[in-house]
Amino acid sequence: MIEIYDITKKYGNRTVLDISSLSFSKGETVVIAGPNGSGKSTLLKILAGTLKADSGKLTVGGKVLYLPQQSLPFGMTVRKNILFSIESRTDKEVRCDEILRKLNLKAFEGKNAKTLSGGECQRLALARLLVNDCDFLILDEPSSAADIEGNELIEGAVKEYKEKNGCGVIMTTHSPRQALDLADRIIMLCDGRVAENGSFREILQNPQTEWTKKFISQWSIDFNR
């Protein structure tokens, strides 16, 4: 379980995050959406422990893996990038081959990661995470640079990883379709505050902000899903 209480964060005089309470459970996929500058990435950074909140309490029960919006491809081959990221274990090579195939990176395994395209880099960054076990997977727009095929590969890999590990997934996205496809629960942030927090059905029935209305208007509604 990850829980936060009364978290605030300011950049200069501007309050970018002000959340009274939120919790995330293992086995649940939570998608965080909201307009640019609404505090999504800041919230994820605080949850992942790469940024300290100005005030409030954060409790993290379990191991967290985090994919930042800009993840650095290491200056080595794609294969070495993955092997370097695997925590000490005996089946390194097997895990590496498996994830390379799953994210369609096998053809680039001998290439220097710095020469990959944006979408390929994103797949590599996710691959480095998914070769390790964790209790919570935190992903900041994991497929923002991916094409349709890359997007499918990323979503498929995340779903499969979650099913296999039973971990919790917390991710941000600007894609209404991705939110609908992956989320058990959706949190909408607006000016650093939680504007919505519920299943897509609950949000559809009673949207609180104009931005939410725009966001959900792009969902093709299938209540039997």
């Binding site: 790469t50 930042p68 800009q70 993840s71 220097n112």
Partner: protein, 218 residues
Amino acid sequence: MLLSMDRELLHIIGVTLRMSFFSTLISCTLGITLGVLIGQKSFKGKRTVNKITGTLMGLPPVVAGLIVYMLFTRYGVFGELKLLFTVEVMVIAQCLLITPVVINLTQSVISSNAAIIRETAVGLNFTAAKRLRLLLNENRQALLSVVLNAFGRSIAEVGAVSLVGGNIQWKTRVMTTAIMLETNKGNFSFALALGIILLVISLIVNIIANLLVKEEKR
């Protein structure tokens, strides 16, 4: 002269390499460690530290030589060590000159990407040691330039080493001080020959260093 390589010339080359190697090693060990610490941390007074190292980068070699000379002269603070006019004191003078350069360049290299490397590494649950390994590996080309810059400064320096070393034959004479001496004697061809050897040494060191820190391409 170059082909015959007389004993004195070989001794001068040996002293030059020994002095440059140790001053590069010490100043880079100190400078890169401090540069990495300063570059990846935010702390009060960081700007002041950068201003100080930036100012010390412009320290004239003769002034550095003078300071070290005063410290190691018979009545100086370290006079009892009797190190004046030795290769050791030449190394100390060079470290005084080069370390601020290494600190400043290293912190500038590290601060350019330390934040993104840290975020990526923390996200992957890397240990502190693995994070440092990654940081150094990601900046290896730039840090190689810093080391080569330090070596270049060391091997080409003349003001401080002639002051504290005394340019003593068979003892503290190095390539640069020998070039100066031969030029003053009007022995231009010998001075030029020494200059060529100096350049060749620099070239060889550059080639070896680049081979050691080869970027993976494909």
